[in-house]
Every structure is written in structure tokens, then in C-alpha cells.
Symmetry: C2
Subunit: 364 residues, 2 copies
């Protein structure tokens, strides 16, 4: 129960700040009741437009509440109703285009329904992921959307998720899933997208196709990798270990690997990046070698990020409907709420990806 202790300690830290000094107590229903010499119940009903309340008292109380800036305390309401109207969203890092698109999708469906999204960023750290899960459960969120962090794969632990299931809090994987865990998820068919990308290159006459792979273990990395491998196999092209190098999704992480590729005695004539960032980094190295894109080397990225059509040469990329992950996951969540105990089931939604062909992979 170390996480529990941690939370306590943190609470301790906060307690030490003397916030009391400069934050005046918000006005409560009791305060208003005292002012009007009536009971809190009357005030409550007046503010909620209850039909069994005198029209004058209602008006008076509402006006006064307005004037003094009364805001009902949702914390106490949550406690009373055992409903917090808030949902947890855990993502590895908020700065990637894909993830902000997912969040946007969740947001677009759930915000209008009155839910508050509690967004947590793990920075790919397992320890933060577990802490956030605990904290969200302690805060009694009504559901958790989780995009698994890299370290969690590496560690292979998922006890923190068992807890969520045990509590029967809906848990939905978004984009990054843990294969072996029995819960609903919305992912994208990265395998197909990768396969299509490689096939496009092969049909364009490319023989030595390199892959700037993502971190090992991540489903998204591995699926794209499998698509790459399977397509090469289909066309009886050799699989060269030297042409497969890891990156970490960031643009700068592809510089050294790409340099290494072109230092090979037999360098590649095409590069398939695990995402657009990595592909853009590779393009720079290729240019600096004096090679032409796509004549000498074709390049394909993944994500179809907003700038991919605008850079030079425009970047062929696999479009993945990040925003739809969010909307579909929301739908799953809402279905879950409306489902009765017995008809509850694990749903796995796989959204299609699509190859968008641009200049960087044109045939010569």
C-alpha cells in the first residue's frame, strides 16, 4: 500500500501551506439560511426551483444567492450522490498530435454531457501510471480511459489495472493497449496501414526498405513493424536486420539511426518511419547526404500530422483517425453505463488507417 502512503504524504505537504489566511470561505447554503432565518432545506429547494416552495421566497433567495456569488459545492454533492461526474484520462504525453486529437474526441462527446475530464500525463512512466490510477479511483471517477505508458509494457505489470476492474469502474484502453488484459479498447489498424505503406513502396520498385521502428514492446510499434515484415515476406524481399533501427517517436531520435543507415555499404532506397516526426528527421539526413527524395530514397511517415502535406517534399503518411478513437471510446463508455450487469461484455474496436500518398514516395 505504498501508493496510499504517498498520497497521505502529499496531502501533508499541501496541508502545510497556510491557505486559510488568504482564501475566504465560500458562502454556503447555511449562510443563506441564517440570513433568511429559514432552514437549509428551504434554501436548497429554492435554488433548485422546487415546486413546493413559495414563489416569493424562491425569488428572494435566488436573488440573494446571485448577489453574494453563491456556488453550490459539488464536492458535497458528489459525496451525497456517489456520483462525481468526472472521468479519468491517462496518456503518456500530451504533446503528441495523436494524443491531443484523442483527448479532443473524448471531450467533444463527454463535455456536453456534463462530465469533467481529469487528464493525467504519465511521461511514459510506470510509477506515475499506477499513482494516477490510484488517485483517480480515490477521487471516485466514473470511468478511466487509458493509453498505456511504455514502461508499463516493459515491466509487464498490470496489477494497478486489476484494481480498477475489481471496483467495476469502466476501463477503456485508447490507442495504446495491453493485449493480455481483458477490457474494452479502441485502437487503430496500424498493421494494415504499415502493410499498405510498404506495399506502395515495393510496387514502386523499392528494394531495400528500412524501418525506423518505435520503442520495442509498444503495440503501435510492433504492429507497424509486423506490417512491414509481413509485406516484405509477401513480396519475397529479404529482411535485413541492419535496416531496422529503434527510435523514440521524437524527431531528433531519427538522426543517428538514419545516418547509420546511409553509412551502410548497401544503403536503403526507402525509409518507413514509425511516425511523421521520425520521417522528417530522416529526410533531413537524406538531403544532407546529397540524395534526392523521392528519386534516390522514398520516405513514408505515420500519423498524417497537419504539416505533412506542407513540408518539402510533401510527406506520404498513414492517416490514423485519432479523434475518432476518442469519440468511439466515449460511445463505449456510455454503452457500458446503459448496459445491465449480465449483458456487459468486452468490446474491441479497431479503426481503419489509410495511406495518403504524396510526393515523398512517388515513383520515378
Amino acid at each position: 500500500m505504498q501508493t496510499f502512503e504517498k498520497i497521505c504524504n502529499n496531502f501533508g505537504v499541501i496541508k502545510n501551506h497556510k491557505t486559510e489566511m488568504n482564501s475566504q470561505r465560500p458562502v454556503t447554503i447555511k449562510d443563506i439560511a441564517k440570513k433568511f432565518k429559514c432552514s437549509p432545506s428551504t434554501v436548497s429547494r429554492a435554488l433548485n426551483d422546487h415546486h413546493l416552495i413559495n414563489e416569493d421566497t424562491r425569488k428572494n433567495i435566488q436573488e440573494y444567492a446571485q448577489k453574494v456569488g453563491y456556488q453550490r459545492n459539488l464536492v458535497s454533492l458528489s459525496l451525497l450522490n456517489k456520483k462525481t461526474a468526472s472521468l479519468g484520462v491517462i496518456v503518456p504525453n500530451i504533446s503528441s498530435y495523436q494524443e491531443s486529437a484523442m483527448i479532443d474526441g473524448l471531450h467533444s462527446v463527454l463535455q456536453p454531457l456534463g462530465y469533467t475530464l481529469n487528464i493525467c500525463v504519465t511521461n511514459e512512466q510506470y510509477i506515475l501510471e499506477t499513482e494516477y490510477v490510484e488517485k483517480l479511483l480515490s477521487n471516485r471517477v466514473e470511468g478511466i480511459f487509458l493509453s498505456v505508458s511504455q514502461e508499463t509494457y516493459d515491466a509487464g505489470h498490470y496489477e494497478h489495472l486489476e484494481n480498477v476492474i475489481k471496483r467495476k469502474v469502466p476501463l477503456i484502453f485508447i490507442d495504446r493497449e495491453y493485449e493480455g488484459f481483458e477490457t474494452s479498447r479502441v485502437t487503430i489498424d496500424d498493421y494494415f496501414g504499415a502493410f499498405a505503406a510498404i506495399e506502395h513502396l515495393v510496387l514502386g520498385g523499392r528494394k531495400r526498405i528500412a524501418h525506423l521502428k518505435g520503442p520495442n514492446g509498444l503495440t503501435v510499434s510492433e504492429q507497424r513493424f509486423r506490417g512491414y515484415i509481413d509485406c516484405l515476406k509477401k513480396y519475397n524481399l529479404p529482411i535485413d536486420e541492419d535496416l531496422i533501427i529503434n527510435t523514440n517517436f521524437r524527431v531528433e531520435s531519427s538522426i543517428v539511426p538514419t545516418t547509420r543507415l546511409f553509412d551502410l555499404p548497401n544503403p536503403p532506397d526507402a525509409i518507413f518511419g514509425v511516425n511523421d516526426q521520425v520521417a522528417i528527421g530522416a529526410m533531413k539526413v537524406i538531403r544532407e547526404r546529397g540524395l534526392q527524395i523521392p528519386k534516390d530514397v522514398a520516405v513514408i511517415g505515420f500519423d498524417n500530422s497537419p504539416i505533412s502535406p506542407y513540408i518539402f517534399p510533401s510527406l506520404t503518411s498513414v492517416a490514423r483517425p485519432g479523434r475518432r478513437i476518442g469519440t468511439e471510446a466515449s460511445r463505449l463508455f456510455l454503452n457500458y453505463l446503459n448496459a445491465s450487469e449480465d449483458e456487459f461484455g468486452v468490446e474491441r474496436i479497431v479503426l481503419p488507417s489509410e495511406l495518403i500518398i504524396r510526393e515523398s514516395s512517388l515513383n520515378f
Copy 2:
């Protein structure tokens, strides 16, 4: 008080879902007390390692709590302590690099202190901004970090913020501020960055410098614009209205304006974009016109986004320390907590920006 009604209605919507069916009640301290035939207080103390508790009972209770997956209810604790340990963060859109950097900065300081960030995305809408402010206050957050939405500028309303001040909840503007409002803020010296960028162009011999301006009214737009104007004035260059066109920060929003610029009888020899996205869009148009960058046209962006060094030609840009906005704003918040009533004051922190010169603006 329409927002209040709105929240009620939303709560109504949620209530209708029959969550009761498939979410089992979490185990409480009372449940444990019943099991051990002792009082809740004993259980509470046992779980909190209180010194006045028998070692055996402590161990037994803790073990049992662990086994049944007890998680203390932070909602009730918040109510009791009048401390929620949560903070509101309101930003216009989460997908921009700058904003995720800010959030990352806030996060890095406040998460370790035990705070939960409640991130809200307004999509630049005034109505959403007000709703979020109300909701955060109702949820009794202990502070609000706000990056003002575009519509809020346009409307010029800020009554929703008066409410925050009245409640003495610390309100801190991050990056996008409302000039006329008396509260602390952390911004970036965009004026200086813009000035430096234009000066660099002027000294490089550019005579007709166009500006792809951001939306009118936003401080960030206007400051960059002022830097542009003032620098031109300093060097006695004429200010040509035709060379100033609005965009909305997105890459595609610069295509039409840039096209218009090069349809002018006297087209520009340099373009200063309000951000990197816009600059990248402009570069595409320039290339397609058969013009060379930087020989025929120099281009400068703003933000120094991660890919700016890697695109072709590499993009000169003004670096702005987005992450530091977050850390400084956190510092301001923590100072505020520790300050006594009388020494409370409004602080305005302006972080420096820095011109990073790359290929796209080299002299010929």
C-alpha cells in the same frame, strides 16, 4: 445564473444512466469497522498509522484493507478538510505545441506536490470558458491557471473572472492574458522576439517584409504585430497594409493569404509568420511559385517548434520558453499560498524570447 441551471441539467442527464447496476459500492471505513466490530475511528487511525493504536489491530486492519482493495474516499476528505488538492487549467486548445509545453511545466512542479490538474479545453469559445470557470469553482479547486480564449477577447467580457477574484481563488494568466484585469500572469516577451526577427531581416537587406498576423485582439498576435511595426518604423521602412494579413495559427490558414501576397504587383521579399505552422504553409506557396528560400524570400516563424530545425530549409524562429511559463506560474501560485493577506500582490512575469537563426532567413 444560467450556468448553474446548466450544471443541474447535466447532472440530470448523468443521473439517468443506471450506473448502479454494474458499479459495486466501494468498500468504506464503516464496512471494515463492522468486520472488526470496532468503531470507524479506530479503522481510520489504523490506516493512518496513528501512534495511539494497538500494533496488532493496526496490522490486521491494514492487511484486511489491502486485501479488499480499500481506497479512501478523497471526495469526503475534501469536504472535511475544505481542501481538494486540485487546480484548474483552462487552455484554448490542447493540440498546440506551446500549450502542451505549458501544461507540462505546470505538471512538473505541481504533480509532485500532490496536486491534481483539472485540464479544460475551451476551443477558443467564450461560453465554454465561463462554464469551466464556474465548474472549477464549484468543484472547489484551489487555484486556476487561465490562457484566455479568443472569443473572450472579442467579447471583452470578464465577469466570470470577477467571480474568481471575489472568491479569493488564486487566478493566474498563462501566456494569453487579459491586459485590463488585475491578477498575476506569466507571459513571454513576444514584442522583443518579433522585433529581433524583423531587425534580422532588415539588416539582411530585406525591404518588403510581410506579416502573417494572428487573430486580432489576442495579446500574442498584437505584441508580435507591434514588434513588427515598431522595427519597420525604427529603420524608416514603409508600412504597407497589403503586406499584413490575418491567419488563425493553423498551417492551412496561411495558404490563401500567402498566395495573395505573391499576386501583388510588388510582392514581399520576406515573410514573418505569427507561428511556425503558418510559416511552413507560406514556404510551400513560395516554393510552388518557383521562388527560392531564402534567396528570393526569407521566412521566419515563431515558437521554435521541435521540427523547425529539421524541415527544408530549416526554419528561423523565435524560441519561446513555453514550459517555463508553467513552472513560473506554479511558483507564483505557491508564493501566493505562503503569502499573508496583506503582502498579497499582483505579479507580472515576462519571460524573454530568443531569435534562433537558421537557413530560411540567411543573407545572400
